[in-house]
């Protein structure tokens, strides 16, 4: 298959360009563009990165709650105008989000791309890649993203602003966000990689951040998208997923029951796409990567659409070629040691 026809390759190329733009973009568009473009980007592109061109929605959100709304309520000076910045942040997020829906994750997020690249390296190193997690484990992990959003992005910053918890918890998600360490390291800064000994709170948060980063570095080699599974942005996206223009649709046929290739291809282990009889199969965990469409062998059963325009529709000929390309890429899988011994 010519690579320019391979959706995954096209996506990697877009992701690479986005990575370069979101990590080094200020070199091209100026340092302050973030304040102009949005400051509400729907992926983990970080404001701590000295060269970034735009930054993630979570930072203004935490700040507006923790330094604006919280203290104002605490001082009894709440006015509706205080909600304006928060609404503007959310509004910008929503606007960008309508344009691309959750494809922001699968196509633009620097951390998502980094995890995928590590996964590719893992495959090449023959690290006996575990294709998917147990259903049970997946189910247990799924609520974590809501907890991250509710607790770390909304409640704790607000509680910190109200004076109930320490100043450390004013932007707790940023404090543990792996993208902060990743993008700043890529921009040549070592200053986000540290253990902060100034207070117990900061110390705990920085330990969590570095542990998490180390975990992701290793887990990504064998597990697909480990951080995405707990990412608060995925939860935030899920809240709005109906309004996005990019859609994932399925025309269920009884053959689906026996196949399940789509679910196997899904990096987020969304097995429901295989069993669902709904038309709209955009699930909360989906990153709109389109792999399920690529690996569906039935004509027209699955499709990735922009509003009503089909971008990619499942097709047996494409599937065959794509599968071949995938096998070639993966090479011969090394049997594990134990199997060899037996």
């Amino acid at each position: 298959m010519p690579i320019w026809k391979n959706l995954s390759v096209i996506r990697k190329f877009v992701q690479l360009l986005a990575f370069l733009f979101l990590v080094y973009g200020s070199v091209f568009v100026g340092f302050y563009s973030a304040d102009k473009l949005s400051g509400a980007f729907p992926v983990l592109s970080c404001a701590y990165d000295a060269k970034t061109a735009d930054y993630c929605v979570l930072i203004p959100l935490q700040h507006q709650l923790g330094h604006g709304l919280g203290p104002a309520i605490a001082a009894g000076k709440f006015t509706l105008s205080l909600l304006l910045p928060i609404l503007t942040t959310l509004g910008t997020f929503l606007l960008l989000f309508i344009l691309l829906n959750k494809a922001f994750c699968g196509w633009l997020c620097p951390l998502g791309f980094f995890q995928e690249v590590l996964g590719m390296i893992g495959q090449k190193l023959r690290l006996n890649r575990t294709e998917s997690l147990d259903d049970n484990l997946v189910d247990r992990i799924r609520p974590a993203k809501w907890l991250m959003l509710g607790l770390l992005v909304i409640l704790l910053p607000l509680a910190s602003g109200l004076g109930f918890v320490g100043h450390e918890l004013g932007d707790p998600f940023c404090q543990i966000c792996p993208s902060r360490i990743l993008t700043s390291l890529f921009a040549g800064q070592l200053n986000q990689l540290y253990i902060d000994t100034s207070s117990t709170g900061y110390m705990i948060l920085s330990i969590i951040a570095d542990l998490l980063f180390g975990l992701i570095l290793v887990l990504s080699l064998t597990m697909r998208q480990p951080f995405c599974r707990i990412c608060p942005l995925l939860a935030m996206h899920a809240l709005f997923k109906k309004v996005g223009l990019v859609k994932l649709v399925k025309n269920y046929t009884p053959r689906c029951d026996k196949c399940g290739l789509c679910a196997k291809a899904c990096p987020m282990d969304i097995r429901e796409i295989h069993t669902s009889k709904e038309k709209d199969i955009l699930m909360p965990d989906c990153t709109l990567c389109g792999r399920c469409v690529e690996f569906c062998p039935d004509k027209g059963v699955m499709a990735l659409k922009y509003a009503v325009i089909p971008i990619k529709v499942s097709d047996p000929a494409y599937f065959k070629e794509r599968n071949k390309a995938q096998k070639r890429w993966e090479g011969k899988q090394k049997p594990s040691r134990r199997v060899k011994k037996d």
Binding site: Y32, T88, T197, G214
Partner: protein, 258 residues
Amino acid sequence: MALFSINAEAAMHWSPVPKEKSHGHGGHGGHDRHAGKPFLLHAGEGAEVQLMSPSKVVQPLTLEHGRVSVKAMGTGNYHALVAKRSVGDLHESAVRYIYMNGKPSGVSPSLLIGHEKSALEIEPAPLAREHWRYYSNTDAQFIVRFQGEPLAGAKVHMQTGNGSSAEFAANTEGLVTIPLPEDFTYEKPGRMANPPSEFVLTAEHHVGTERHITTFSYGYHINPEHWQSTELGLAVIGGGMFIGGFITLRKRRRREKK
């Protein structure tokens, strides 16, 4: 060569009015105050003072005992506080950027920062933004401009509230790199425990008999490396990788057993 030495103490410059004792939640760089922010203009008798919004809308201000109180003009983001005075052939200016909370301005602060506010100007390149601060023991960069054009070789004098002073020269593009001095006395860990200090940059330029003097002033903080350890950070990342390896191995074993 500097034919004259600039006395930074005497040059007109802005500084924030020192805070009264902290009120519980204080100390977050003024992010959370919605009332006016007070600033002092030093050596600025008779100067004309104005506030410029991110979209370059100008509001005249009046000095009261050398003080002004500034409030955002409708939108948030960086505003410029500008003082100018001309007496005979001497033209002086002082510029300071102030971050205001409020409705997003929709324009990039680079518009305001790049805009010519006085003939001679020290332009931050870039200005520390959002999670950036000026820190001791790091380099800060500026471009000296005269009538909008970079001033090659311009001399810039730095004076800090902690008593350091030094002189630097801009390169051929007018760019000057200022190593902010490590001149804080460090006692307690944590940003909150270490109040910021101020640095003032002064540049001077002569054209015939005309003299131009300008200042740029801003706060800078003690470098957090005093209480943040990169080595420990690396060690903990190593720990995380170790745990990751352990989880992976265990998972693989379980799978093989099945």
